[in-house]
Structures are given as structure tokens and as C-alpha cells.
Symmetry: C2
Subunit: 89 residues, 2 copies
């Protein structure tokens, strides 16, 4: 059983209005050292696969097709092997 942790962020050229809003809120709250904030999405997916290569291919395939918007977002992921009995992600 594999655990994929997938981090989705906007592509560098895409405006991130949420990040900008959070940055101004933090500045108003006197967190003055903050120079950049970006908000993305984070997925944890548990999957069965034959081997690491098959798991990697599957994660790429479903992330491209379902989890991200390829026009505006990019992603990276880590894969780890987990015990089937671990209930919590």
C-alpha cells in the first residue's frame, strides 16, 4: 500500500488572490516580516499498486486528469510505503 502526498500550487505566472489576501491580513495583524504567501491544495491518497513505478504512473495519471487544472496549476508529490492497518492518514 502506497501513500501519495500531492502538493498542488499555482504556476508562477498565475495570480494568487487568496495568497495576497492572506498576506495583507497577516501584515494587518502585525506579522510584518512576511514577504510572500501562496495557497495551494494538498492531497493524501492511499493506493494499492504492483510496485513503485506503477504507483508513480497512477498518481501522475489521476492527478493530471482529475486533481489539478493543468492550465493554471502545477504539482509535485512524494510516495511512501505504508502499512495497510494504519487507519489515519
Amino acid at each position: 500500500m502506497y501513500l501519495a502526498k500531492i502538493y498542488v500550487t499555482y504556476k508562477p505566472s498565475i495570480l494568487d488572490p487568496q495568497g495576497e489576501v492572506i498576506k495583507s491580513a497577516l501584515t494587518r495583524l502585525d506579522y510584518t516580516g512576511i514577504s510572500q504567501v501562496s495557497q495551494g491544495k494538498y492531497f493524501e491518497v492511499k493506493l494499492d499498486a504492483r510496485d513503485v513505478e506503477a504507483a508513480t504512473a497512477e498518481v501522475k495519471s489521476f492527478t493530471d486528469s482529475l486533481l489539478i487544472n493543468q492550465n493554471t496549476e502545477t504539482y509535485r508529490f512524494d510516495l511512501s510505503i505504508v502499512n495497510e492497518d494504519e487507519a489515519t492518514l
Copy 2:
């Protein structure tokens, strides 16, 4: 300059309807090995701080107060040192 990568997930006892919807969508798309999906949020924050301890304290403070809902969400984060000139997160 520090870069904090903050991963926000639901607490284990909290229902994650988005994760459930994504899991059923993936199953319908013939990704049959998937046993659990959870969706969370991911933040990248660049900040100035005196040292690692100060940066850690600041990240904890603003994450608790602004970025998460402490009733339903939990988080972890990594801190790394980055060059001020790196424009992209």
C-alpha cells in the same frame, strides 16, 4: 529569509466530504486501487525572522490564529532557509 511549507489536514475524527467525492470519482474512472483520499490545504509563506526559533514561533502563531480552524483542522510544517533573490515559491 525562511520558507515555511504548511500542510493543513482535517483532524482524524472529522468527515472529509471532498476526499470522499474525489475517491468515488477516481473509482468511477477505473482507478480501482484507491482506498483513501483526503484533501487539505497547503501554504507557502516567505518570512524574515531573527533565527529559526523566531521563525518557528511566528509560523505557529499565525497558522493557529489565521490559517486553520482549530476545531476541525490540524497542521504540520517544514521550515527552510531560502535566498532572498529567489522570486518563485
